[in-house]
Symmetry: C2
Subunit: 424 residues, 2 copies
Amino acid sequence: MDASSSDIKALMEGIGQKARNAAMRLALASRADKDKALQAAAHRLRERMPAILGANALDMAAARSKGLTPALLDRLKLDESRIEAMAKGLEDVANLADPIGQTMAEWKRPNGLAIQRVRVPLGVIGIIYESRPNVTADAGGLCLKSGNAAILRGGSESINSSGAIMDCLQAGLKEAGLPPDSLQMVPVTDRAAVGVMLTMTEYIDVIVPRGGKSLIERVIAESRIPLFQHLEGLCHTYVDGAADLEMARRIVLNAKMRRTGICGATETLLIDRACAATHLAPLIRDLLDAGCEVRGDDSVQATDPRVVPATDEDWNTEYLDAIISARLVDGVDEAIAFINRFGSQHTDSIVTGDPVRAEKFLNEVNSAIVLHNASTQFADGSEFGMGAEIGIATGKLHARGPVGVEELTTYKYRVLGSGQVRPG
Amino acid sequence: MDASSSDIKALMEGIGQKARNAAMRLALASRADKDKALQAAAHRLRERMPAILGANALDMAAARSKGLTPALLDRLKLDESRIEAMAKGLEDVANLADPIGQTMAEWKRPNGLAIQRVRVPLGVIGIIYESRPNVTADAGGLCLKSGNAAILRGGSESINSSGAIMDCLQAGLKEAGLPPDSLQMVPVTDRAAVGVMLTMTEYIDVIVPRGGKSLIERVIAESRIPLFQHLEGLCHTYVDGAADLEMARRIVLNAKMRRTGICGATETLLIDRACAATHLAPLIRDLLDAGCEVRGDDSVQATDPRVVPATDEDWNTEYLDAIISARLVDGVDEAIAFINRFGSQHTDSIVTGDPVRAEKFLNEVNSAIVLHNASTQFADGSEFGMGAEIGIATGKLHARGPVGVEELTTYKYRVLGSGQVRPG
């Protein structure tokens, strides 16, 4: 190991140790203190808006000179309304119920032991993300509310912006008398820091990667720490033969086109062969007319000359863009089999008037979120009523679907006795 | 890769693919069919007792010629009562409530969407264990009840015994019309099979390692699949200054000596300096008189000439034997700090008549199970009223504490609409 990598290791271990110490104190913090810290941080974000915008201008200038794409520049950019949205987001999180200390279940045993399962924080959460600086406030706020310390490692492009935001969060912690090390930013842009972070099993309890496929794949490959993993949102909408055509048109257009860049956007449209004669053409034309590229099988291509042929790769592709793949299937059974084979176990919807087929689809599609007669774009913590979310988990362990403050907790068992010993 | 390792890879992938296919069917199986399979398997275990004992005799003969220790031979040995206990265990699991399909929560959104969080199986569970052949029936039964397929990899010493037990489980599955591949045994003893298994992320959703420290450490180091991890049970009993002496004596003796080889056995005794004059000597003498070796600090050594000096390593050691380390601490705060530093976050108990100190201990000790005025030996799924358990999890993700049928499930969100699309 050369000097530089041993420096990074020492730096990261120092951050980890401080986070672990802070987490032990934060786990015992009152709701009032945590909410005070969130509200004070929101206040600081508004108060220091000029400084944050100045820091962001430095990041934007560097990013432009590096030739970042307009889409990436837009993600990086802060303005007054985006900073206000971050501040409002922290206030919203303060208003959520405190999950910590909740009794999830309690029961009494015949020997008199009272057993309580109570929510406690996970401990230290590592967040690895790309250039969006707002993740610093959003993810930091959720960790704080749920009593977890967090180590945030943002993209190198946003280091000045994220640093200025982190200063506000730490000021809020100090004002509330909570350990400022509860939220820490990794202060170096060296990619080796991520590698070290992913092996710090002693200091980090769970890693939340947020970003594109290559980031997530690197984290999956290297991490020795459990992940709340969200690989991709390859979501399907299946229009069944018993679907109301007007409802199907509304849902399909919204599921694909409301926002094309979010993980709950539909990427593949499956249409029951039984209703192809009536439903196929209007559904496809709506999409084409809205500016969506449609990649279809032979039947879909036959509906409109603007449809282009789908390749095998299309059924495996999360476009995150105004592109959709579309094909006919033979009823709900083939739809279920197709989704379980090609989907990413994120979110899938059936449009049908037939309750038996709906029930079959909801039971047999093996995804975190399954919907009946609703748009896949509802795959979102706030739409579920959870408040903010740190992401949508497509893994099956611990958290599945939207990850909000409750999903950032674990539990412990408290057993209350009066001198019981175990017989036998 | 030589021919043999590529053969093992192909064998394991075949097992994985069959398990995944079986899991999709088993996830939809009715409670009646699963219970029928469990009861039929119990019947077969009793019916085929002579064949199972014959298979076990082969394993025992091979183990003796390999020179296994008496303790390992005892773990490997089956007799009629142990086979009857396995059969009874399967019947008990059949009598548990079916967790699958349970609605864990449901609510309605202002836009009319109804959201349900329902329990579903995890999918495929990999179980890696050592020589105890009863794990085949116990773990297999819990996986089946919770709708999960399982791939079991037992110790090479028990391959004939486990194979004979697995035959009974698969016969039960067939009688109930469930896919016999729902439960499969890895049929080779080659250690490379474990290595392949730990990388089969496509086919296995979670790995449950059951065995000694070296097995668990290997699994942690190599696994690319999430684990229900149980590294060790370095459990503490803290006798506070406000403890009733007679209660403390009963609890300490039981916590250490009822069974010394289980993970909930106390390994370290902490005694409040405030009650050393009255409590220390009787507590230590009880242990010594019961045949327990006591390794103590200076104060503990001063109580009785039979006490031997504790070394630094003792505070980090899970003895699983009639040995205890013991020392004085300055009150509940030092006890908490000591346990959080040296414990394994498994199970720790405080004996005290002071409710404030008890509450502090229960809140601040960062372990899966914390007890007040009760023996650490209660750390057990059946003592918690969960029925059988597949182990005690000391990690924080997904399952913590006893892992029973509910902990072997995950959930999905069912969202029921009437044509809703997401605005904005």
